[in-house]
């Protein structure tokens, strides 16, 4: 129920934001004076999802909430947190939905493993197929069993 309410709330936010004059992605007043810190903030922002948007990270999003998150990231960075600590701080408050790069924990290993696994299966199948193709002529030569060879000889002898 609370999840439903959250969703309805989020939907309203989307509507409100869509109609309000657009704020824009990173604004000049958000930028940190220290370029190294700012660069880290940008990198972190690119992996965090704007929760009220559709598939946008907070670095690109115009939404108010994205701005709040950007400011939060910078606040934590200035407070001396490491990149991992900043991300953990945000995930604690907003859930793993905020991560655009899903962690490789629990069932997610399936997600990360799917590509390599499929490649292995594909490569295995292809290897078998290619070997069969390369050996095909020899297999055809030995196509007759001994019994059939006998029969063939008998037929030929009769002629």
């Amino acid at each position: 129920m609370s999840r439903l309410l959250q969703r309805v709330g989020a939907l309203w936010l989307v509507l409100l934001i869509a109609l309000a004059p657009a704020a824009q992605a990173v604004l000049p007043d958000e930028i940190l004076a220290d370029p190294a810190l700012e660069a880290r903030a940008r990198e972190i922002s690119k992996d965090l999802r704007c929760l009220v948007c559709r598939n946008e990270n907070i670095d690109e999003s115009n939404a108010e909430l994205a701005r709040d998150l950007r400011l939060l990231v910078r606040e934590r960075l200035t407070a001396g947190d490491s990149d991992e600590e900043v991300v953990a701080y945000i995930v604690d408050r907003y859930g793993e939905y905020v991560l655009l790069r899903p962690t490789a924990t629990g069932a997610n290993w399936l997600l990360w493993g799917a590509g390599p696994l499929m490649l292995l299966i594909g490569a295995g199948l292809a290897w078998g197929y290619l070997r069969a193709r390369a050996r095909a002529p020899r297999l055809q030569e030995a196509a007759l069993t001994d019994e059939e060879q006998d029969r063939l000889r008998r037929i030929l002898d009769d002629e």
Partner: protein
């Protein structure tokens, strides 16, 4: 009146499609020539009726007939004519009608130009194509009728989503649909062949032009969409791994795989069952794409229709067609025996590797796109899978593909020697390594992405040149022979080089982009990567159906005036939506990209400036790929063989509308 006629014509098209589905199939099973011959007029009738219905809807949009629900919801009398027309497919009902129009068009062209096909195969192909038509016509008639009237028509419409009012996006859906639906032709051929139980080199030759045409359209459609996102969304991103983008990308990857495996069927009579499977999957992914976009299951920017009833209907179509085809495949695939024999190192093997990489890459995109749904339903985890995942999980496949491409392209059929292919590529390799090294030294300390992109780009492009040159044989007059090479050879080289250009451009843009965000007052000058920009004035301008805040930015380089840019912020009052219109100075080696933002308390304006190196090369490369496909499509062997002309003529009706 015309509206009602349109609705009536659509119903007639539905009837014609049912006849087209049933009669020729029965005829082909029973060997009754008369019944098989019904396919042709039925396909023609289905196309003509659908075209009439579509024309009726276009007429309603053009004349702003606000007694129609779709027109009210997606148009406005003040909207420019181009967007009145593109508004026809800028909504759910109209876009599905366009989809069906293209299905019937492809069916009709196969009927008109498929004279060289064996009659039973032709009847079955048209019957399967008719079945697809039946499914989607039923979908339109029963869930998404565009011809619904309103009891009380309003004075004016609600306008089209302003993001869609754009030349790039006006033609993006038709091209995508031509691609999606073009794959339905490969699907029909695959299913027909399974029913016939026979696949030979001729089949490969018939199916390849259709796949090629579909792939060309998809390439152009995707490139248009990406180009649109680049200039319209306001920060110059060109690919977002959005579910809707992925929906078009998966069929593209599979179609690319299918193109290559169909060559093996055509030339070597091997990989038959795999090619059939790919043809089924490629269209299956097109249907999945339609399902994702139309159901709103994975909501995203593009999903303008979120209606579960429609989603379930499309899911049923998807299950019926892919499920049915795959069952048929499981029953019949063993009958498709390979004939060609080839060694481990050969062109055939290289194309198998190409197919594995493309298919697995497409599978990764599929898995990542649907994982959030699976995780929520299966593991009760609400999570996101975004660009960082795709960049990490997808890109390696493309890297490997790029690395082996020039070698594979040079290997001869049947039996090759790796050493020989590598030796002929020695100059290409040296050139690519030297360029990458040069760039690596020049850019000191930046990411490795730039040099990698340069290496791959140079390697693939020069590899394509070597490939062409190696075909001219030995001795004098090699240039003359180069010009007379078959178009398929040229097409292959151009398309491969295009891929190299795009790979290089994506890496270059990502690695070397520079950005500047600031508040600037009128008359102030600031410098970004060697460009001096001055915000001269900001004025309010009135457009046909919007209000604009338009800035004038003078750009100078080394003290000389370069250009004047006009970035805009627009508000569409009817649709109540703001949009950003970036101003872009397109250059050969870089784009200068300026966006104006809100006025600040101190009277200054937020201005974002990006210098985007090699941005245009991304779409340039995509165009080269499409051009390569076109060259290949116009190769003599297809013009002589059945099934060539129809693919080319498919483009015409879209251009006319």
């Amino acid at each position: 009146m015309i509206t009602e006629l349109g609705h009536f014509a659509l119903t007639l098209a539905f009837m014609a499609a049912i006849v087209q589905m049933v009669v020729p199939m029965v005829g082909a099973q029973k060997r009754w020539p008369g019944w098989m011959a019904v396919a042709e007029p039925a396909a023609t009738l289905q196309f003509l009726m659908t075209a009439f219905a579509f024309a009726a809807l276009v007429y309603a949009f053009v004349t702003s007939d606000f007694s129609l629900k779709v027109v009210v919801e997606n148009s406005h009398s003040a909207k420019p004519m181009l967007y009145k027309i593109s508004g026809v497919w800028g909504n759910h009902e109209g876009s599905m009608l366009l989809w069906v129009l293209i299905v019937s068009l492809f069916g009709a062209t196969a009927a008109w130009f498929g004279g060289n096909l064996p009659p039973s195969l032709k009847a079955r192909v048209l019957s399967v194509q008719g079945a697809i038509g039946v499914a989607f016509l039923a979908f339109i008639l029963f869930t998404s009728n565009p011809f619904l009237r309103l009891a009380v028509p309003p004075f004016d419409g609600e306008d089209l989503n302003p993001l869609l009012q754009d030349p790039g996006l006006a033609f993006h859906p038709p091209f995508l649909y031509l691609g999606y639906v073009g794959l339905s032709m490969s699907f029909s051929f695959a299913v027909a062949a399974l029913i016939e139980g026979r696949i030979d080199a001729a089949w490969g030759r018939w199916v390849r032009p259709w796949t090629l045409a579909a792939w060309i359209f998809l390439t152009i459609g995707i490139a248009l969409g990406s180009w649109w996102a680049y200039y319209e969304l306001g920060w110059g991103g060109f690919w977002f791994w959005d579910p809707v983008e992925n929906a078009s990308f998966m069929p593209w990857l599979l179609a690319a795989a299918l193109l290559h495996s169909a060559i093996v069927v055509e030339k070597r009579e091997a990989l038959k069952s795999w090619t059939i499977l790919l043809a089924i999957l490629a269209f299956g992914f097109s249907l999945i794409g339609t399902f994702i976009v139309r159901s709103g299951l994975l909501t995203s920017v593009h999903a303008f229709a979120n209606d579960p009833e429609r989603g379930v209907f499309i899911l049923m179509i998807l299950a019926l067609f892919t499920g049915g085809a795959l069952t048929l495949f499981a029953m019949r695939a063993s009958a498709m025996e390979a004939r060609g024999v080839f060694a481990m190192v050969s062109r055939e093997s290289a194309l198998v590797v190409n197919n594995i990489l493309l298919a697995v890459a497409s599978f990764v995109v599929f898995f990542g796109t649907l994982w959030p749904v699976a995780a929520e339903m299966g593991f009760d985890r609400k999570l996101s899978v975004g660009p960082p995942y795709f960049n990490a999980a997808f890109t390696p496949f493309m890297l490997v593909l790029g690395l082996i491409l020039p070698v594979g392209a040079l290997l001869p059929w049947k039996r090759g020697r790796l050493g020989k292919a590598a030796w002929s590529l020695r100059y290409a390799l040296v050139l690519a390594l030297a360029l990458a090294l040069l760039v690596w030294v020049l850019q000191t300390g930046q990411s490795a992405l730039g040099p990698i992109g340069v290496f791959l780009g140079a390697w693939i492009v020069s590899g394509a040149v070597v490939d062409l040159w190696s075909r001219t044989g030995r001795g004098g007059n090699r240039l003359g022979r180069l010009a007379r090479l078959p178009r398929a050879d040229w097409g292959k080289a151009v398309a491969h080089a295009g891929l190299g250009v795009t790979m290089f451009a994506i890496a270059g843009l990502t690695a070397w982009e520079s950005e500047d965000i600031r508040v600037t007052r009128l008359g102030e000058t600031f410098e970004v990567s060697g460009f001096d920009l001055t915000l001269e004035k900001v004025e309010r301008v009135r457009g046909p159906n919007y209000f604009s805040t338009m800035g004038t930015v003078r750009v100078e380089k080394d003290g000389r005036a370069l250009t004047t840019l006009h970035p805009e912020k627009r508000v569409y009052p009817v649709a109540q939506m703001p949009t950003t219109e970036a101003a872009i100075d397109n250059g050969f080696t870089r784009d200068l990209y300026v966006v104006i933002g809100d006025q600040q308390a101190d009277g200054g304006y937020t201005v974002r400036t990006y210098v985007k190196p090699f941005a245009n090369w991304i779409w340039g490369g995509a165009l080269m790929m499409a051009l390569g496909g076109l060259l290949s499509l116009s190769d003599r062997r297809f013009r002589v063989a059945a099934g060539a002309r129809k693919a080319g003529s498919a483009a015409k009706p879209v251009a006319a509308e």
